[in-house]
């Protein structure tokens, strides 16, 4: 359980923090102006408030400490002590202790800050200094002939309390009155400075007093004054028979918040009349008063403090029950300020930022929900509705929208806080740091009134602190250095805040030595952040940005680089979190300027909505530079990065679909929308599928219930209740850049390896990538002479050794996946080599472009052969079970199936028919080729169209695809895809030519493959046709010789497969035990699928 001070803890913390700030700030000023009584009073007041509030929440140690501080300050205020360095240091030390206590409490810990030392020191200082305190001489009124002056107090704080100047007549009147048994009082009345018609108030008081006694004088003379001249404080000398209560009642006028009173005693001194003013007491106080006002006899005052407990501040406070102490109300300026803050207290409600956030969130939702009306209005307008009604609707809608927006901006404004409170607290930090580093620094603060979102205000302190630290530690030279450089001895650091457009800028500028770009370059290379070539091509700003890199700020760096280091990463991170940015301007010898920029508000942002496939993403408009459209052919690849030439500038591209791991929904020929986003001084083009327009969105954090997700700034709930993810351009680009750098490094390394190694070994490595443990030794490698065995076949065989027969189906998929990997992996290698070593690149290109071949292994291990046979047999035996398993093992197809109205049973029925069909097909194929044909269990899946390439796999391998559209009652397509070599081989088999002769597909070859497809496809289709009793008519097949991806694409496009989902039946065929022929894919369209399913139901 966290430590807590109870329900007032929050209030206490907030106040204490404010008071501490005030203390720090004032003490700093006091240091430079030790005799400014106003500052002393300010400090005194803050210390006193702190003492009271600490006592209130039970932090008695803290209260004690504050009390000791107060004693010390009292001495200073009374002029019995001077502002010396030890005094100031002791006070600063006390503030630090208080700060430690406050932060302990605010982080929920019991404050266990040792205070004894500080308290003792304060005690010691105040005692040693107080010993020298001169006894205040008793002052009494001078003889009647002369005007009586109130004693001049040391460090008199309240000159605005009119001086008591009495004429001889007044004196006489008083003496006579007192002699007549009346009591004389000196009444000081304080009128609320905010009050209007003060003169009236004063007049009212005088009238009231007249009723109970005689007004000897009012000072100044109220009668003679106009309203404008009326001060806030006036004195009344009154003679009355009545007691204090009567006077109190007389003075109790609205907006008079305090009445002080002193007894006037008359005595004869040397035959002359003397008036003695006794200790002042407060009759009326709306606030707790502190009666440290000057008295005639200082010693007496001390005594009376003990005798009259109500004079003791702490007690008085409890009695009056006011939480705020406004000491020094007598001081006119203090009064002014006190009144100001009093007014603020009355008019302010403290609201937790959470509540505001919630409210703002709701209003944001309101604004967004409102946009739904616009859509509705557009719909209404399009229909032939009553025009008047539609217009009325529009008016109301717009009215509501206006109100919602006003509400939104109103609430937004409530979150705005002047930045001054953050900036001024750095004065202390700068002072301390300057002392620590022995430098002379002057902190200039500008734009304190600039308002910023509270969230920014709360978080900006830390980055600014780091920047200031760095400026003082590294940026600013020592005084002697500065003098040597003919710079002003005292360095200046400027903290400036200002608004510009939709952004708030906060600057930290120093006039120090500036960043040392060479050191940064060196360090960046040392740290492996960049290579020399990279650095050579970077502009200065990019290089300066290295200082934000994590780890660039270790202790070692600080000494190595004369530039900055500490905490820069923190700066960057915090600022990014606030959707802000950091820019660096630096000039050697002249100084450095860090400009932090933040959006004015964080809660609602305009965004560009984009779609990838079916998923919607929002890109904050502040990150967007422009949107363009490019053709796929405009895109070129440089070192593995896709780029375009945008008006003569090379723009790196980033495919959003790849980033979010989705397939793009765009076909090959469309122009692709590109959102050009800016990040720092870097521009990147984001390839998206569709642009959906601009929208205002409310940012909801993902951290609240989950965590920060790389590349995402949060989520937003759209008008229809759906969630849209907001891209965090900065982190997204960072992630991609990191990935690319990693890849580049890896590729570079590979490229080097490749250059060194024998080609044969490259080939071997490639096979290793297939996941096999027993790569066959190849003598002639990929020289092109071999033709019988194909790598996938090898791969299949190799894998069979390691897998149980039962898992063959899954294995096949694995195989397909692993088969595409090497090509991917090698591509960059090629790119890397292409720069340096042309011949090798050529060779490798051939390796990659052609499916690898291995030599016929004439001495093929009989053992392996046997096991493969066993495997296949076992697999056929287990066919039935496998179907069952396949049907039961859950896949993500499920919800698709559900949406199509299909069940698992339906799918397994399709599976059964497919099996029969596949067996039929194998039989036909076997007859045509005159060879035994083996096949895998057909895998039946329901997939979204865009998933088909992924499912088929090997999309980057070249295949010969033959697709045959189906018409009749069932529509769809049959695709028979042959591995290139197998295709050639089949052609040669059918035409009885030597296998090695067939290298391309001529017309004859095409017709042969078409024929095979026709036979095989029809045999499957016929089975379906029979089962469901519907006519399915195969049409003329088409041959495409291309990458699998292209084959699939052209099939989908040419056959206008516009459905969202397809049922896929895929079977691999093998001949001569283990050689892959290719696979057969049957895709009925969605409606047909549903027909088939329905027909198959029992």
């Amino acid at each position: 359980m966290a430590f807590s001070l109870g329900e007032y803890q929050d209030i206490f913390l907030e106040e204490a923090d404010e008071q501490l700030q005030e203390l720090n700030q004032n003490l700093l000023e006091l240091e430079s102006r030790p005799n400014d009584s106003e500052i002393i009073n300010n400090i005194f007041r803050a210390a006193h408030s702190l003492k009271s509030s600490a006592a209130f929440v039970g932090l008695n140690d803290l209260s004690d400490l504050a009390h000791k501080m107060e004693n010390l300050l009292q001495g200073i205020r009374d002029g019995t002590m001077s502002v010396t360095r030890p005094v100031v240091q002791a006070l600063f030390k006390s503030f630090d202790v208080i700060n430690a206590v406050i932060s302990a409490v605010s982080s929920g810990n019991e404050p266990k800050v040792p205070m004894g030392g500080v308290i003792a020191e304060l005690q010691r200082i105040s005692e040693s200094e107080t010993d020298a305190k001169p006894a205040a001489p008793e002052k009494s009124a001078t003889p009647s002939a002369k005007p009586v002056e109130a004693p001049t107090r040391p460090a008199a704080p309240d000159e605005d309390v009119p001086k008591l100047v009495l004429s001889a007549d007044d004196m006489r009147a008083i003496r006579q009155g007192v002699d007549a048994g009346m009591l004389g009082y000196d009444v000081t009345v304080f009128i609320d400075p905010a009050a209007v018609m003060k003169w009236m108030k004063a007049q009212l008081v005088l009238n009231n007093i007249e009723k109970i006694g005689t007004v000897v004088r009012s000072i100044p003379d109220v009668e003679d004054l106009s309203e404008k001249q009326m001060p806030n404080v006036f004195k009344v000398i009154v003679l009355t028979d009545e007691n204090l209560d009567a006077i109190r009642a007389a003075c109790d006028v609205d907006l008079i918040y305090r009445v002080d009173l002193r007894d006037i005693a008359v005595s004869q001194v040397n035959g002359k009349t003397a008036l003695t003013f006794r200790e002042e007491q407060t009759l009326i106080s709306e606030k707790k008063e502190e009666q440290k006002k000057p008295v005639d006899v200082a010693a007496e005052a001390e005594e009376e403090e003990v005798v009259r407990p109500e004079e003791d501040e702490a007690e008085a406070e409890i009695e009056i029950g006011e939480e705020k102490d406004e000491d020094e109300a007598a001081h006119p300026e203090a009064v002014q300020r006190a009144e100001g803050s009093k007014g603020a207290i009355l008019k302010t409600v403290r609201v937790s930022i959470d509540k505001l956030d919630l409210l703002l969130n709701n209003v944001g939702e309101l604004v967004i929900a409102n946009s739904g009306f616009y859509r509705l209005y557009e719909d209404l307008r399009r229909r032939d509705m009553d025009k008047a009604l539609v217009n009325e609707f529009k008016n109301r809608m717009e009215q509501m929208s206006r109100i919602a927006k006003d509400l939104q901006s109103g609430i937004m404004k409530t979150r705005m806080v002047p930045i001054g409170q953050v900036l001024t607290r750095f004065k202390r930090l700068v002072r301390d740091l300057a002392m620590e580093f022995d430098k002379k620094v002057n902190l200039k603060i500008l734009g304190e009134e600039t308002e910023l979102d509270k969230k920014v205000i709360d978080s900006i302190g830390e980055p600014l602190m780091h920047l200031l630290r760095n400026a003082i530690d590294h940026g600013i030279e020592t005084a002697s250095e500065r003098v040597a450089m003919r710079k002003a001895e005292v360095a200046t650091i400027t903290l400036n805040a200002y608004q510009g457009g939709n952004q708030i800028f906060v600057e930290v500028a120093d006039d120090g030595r500036g960043l040392d770009i060479d050191s940064i370059k060196r360090k960046a290379m040392e740290k492996g952040l960049a290579t020399a070539e990279m650095i050579a091509s970077m502009d200065n700003e990019d290089i300066f940005n290295f200082i934000f890199a994590p780890g660039f700020s270790t202790a070692k760096v600080i000494t190595d680089i004369s530039g900055r280091g500490v905490g820069m990463n923190v700066v960057k991170e915090v600022v990014s979190e606030l959707n802000g940015n950091v820019a660096i301007e630096t000039e050697p010898g002249m100084g450095t300027r860090f400009v932090l920029s933040f959006p004015i508000t964080l809660a609602i942002i305009p965004a560009i909505m984009v779609k990838v496939n079916r998923e919607m993403y929002a890109i904050p408009l502040s990150d967007v530079i422009e949107t363009i459209k490019v053709a796929e052919s405009d895109i070129t690849t440089i070192e593995g990065h896709e780029v375009i030439n945008l008006r003569g500038e090379i723009l790196s591209l980033l495919r959003l679909n790849e980033f979010v791991a989705l397939d793009s929904a765009l076909g090959g020929n469309t122009r692709i929308p590109v959102v050009v986003v800016g990040y720092g001084n870097r521009k990147v083009g984001l390839l998206v599928d569709y642009l959906e327009g601009k929208q205002e969105i409310v940012i909801k954090s993902l951290e609240q219930n989950y965590a920060t997700v790389e590349g995402l700034a949060g989520a937003s709930i759209l008008g229809d209740g759906s969630i849209c993810l907001i891209l965090d351009i900065a982190s997204m680009i960072n992630k991609v850049i990191n990935d690319q750098d990693f890849l580049m490094r890896r590729d570079r390394k590979k490229a080097l390896d490749a250059r060194i190694d024998e080609i044969k070994e490259v080939s071997a490595e490639r096979i290793d990538l297939h996941g096999k443990t027993t790569a066959p030794k190849t003598d002639d490698g990929f020289s092109g002479g071999s033709r019988e065995a194909s790598a996938p076949a090898e791969s299949a065989r190799g894998d069979f050794k390691d897998y149980e027969p039962f898992s063959i189906s899954a294995q096949r998929v694995t195989d397909a996946k692993s088969a595409e990997k090497p090509v991917d992996a090698q591509r960059p290698v090629m790119a890397g080599i292409a720069k340096g070593d042309e011949p090798v690149a050529d060779l490798l290109t051939r390796v990659a472009a052609e499916p690898p071949r291995t030599a016929v292994d004439d001495d093929e291990d009989e053992e392996i052969k046997k096991r493969v046979q066993e495997t296949l047999d076992g697999f056929r035996q287990d066919l039935k079970d496998t179907i069952k398993t396949a049907a039961e093992s859950g896949t993500t197809d499920d919800h698709i199936m559900r949406s199509l109205g299909m069940t698992r049973e339906d799918l397994s029925r399709v599976q059964v028919v497919s099996n029969v069909g596949a067996a039929n097909a194998a039989e036909s194929l076997s007859k045509v080729l005159g060879k035994r044909i083996d096949l895998t269990i057909p895998e039946v899946r329901v997939l979204p169209i865009e998933k088909i390439p992924e499912f088929v796999g090997r999309i980057d391998n070249v295949f010969i695809g033959v697709y045959m559209p189906l018409t009749g009652d069932i529509r769809g397509t049959v695709l028979f895809s042959f591995i290139e070599e197998s295709g050639f081989e089949l052609i040669s088999l059918l035409y009885g030519k030597p296998v090695s002769d067939v290298k391309t597909i001529d017309e004859d070859g095409e017709s042969a493959l078409k024929e095979i497809t026709n036979i095989v496809g029809s045999s499957v289709v016929n089975v379906f046709s029979e089962k469901i009793n519907l006519a399915i008519k195969p049409t003329v097949p088409t041959v495409v010789h291309d990458f699998m991806q292209s084959i699939l694409d052209s099939m989908l496009v040419l056959h206008n497969i516009s459905n969202d989902y397809a049922l896929l039946m895929e079977t691999d065929f093998y001949y001569e035990d283990d050689k892959v022929i290719g696979n057969l894919l049957i895709l009925p369209d969605t409606e047909s699928l549903q027909v088939i399913v329905k027909k198959l139901r029992p």
Partner: protein, 189 residues
Amino acid sequence: MGLEELLEKQKNFHGVPIEGSEAGVRSKIDAELMADSSVMQFVSFLLEEVEFGINILSVHEILRMPEITRLPNTPDFIKGVINLRGNVIPIVDVRIRFDFPSGQITDLTRVIVVETGEKLVGLLVDNVYQVVRLPEGNIDPPSDLIEGVSEEFITGIGRMRDRLIVILNLDNILFSDEGRKAALGEQAK
């Protein structure tokens, strides 16, 4: 709150009955809650023939399959996020989280919204089976009895007549634990 919601959901629940009538259950539950604080209640669900229980005090509400927005660049078991009345909350596919084969969405599929570490998290489960009441004494510390599910997700095993209920610890449900992965990797070796 959670309980009301649960009972409301149970009303629409097909196939798996909660014991007794709805009102009866409620009063019974209430009575028992009042009477004996050592009786704990768990919302249970079945997964691969194992019954898992979640302390009812952590259960915020139970939803039918909502629309889930995929969250890229997150672990497999994070299905995505949903909009729960303006709150964006993550959905954990319990099957994947527990290294079971992924399942299918059916009419019985539910999202149990739980509160863990001040975060709201939706657990995608095949079904919601029952609310079970177990005296504290019937809950044993985790044992090796339960295969498959990592211990980090289990706080105890509840015995109820002939049934065993795996009481889940939700603390680790949302984040991958590198240590856990490492440990599994070691075992595999």
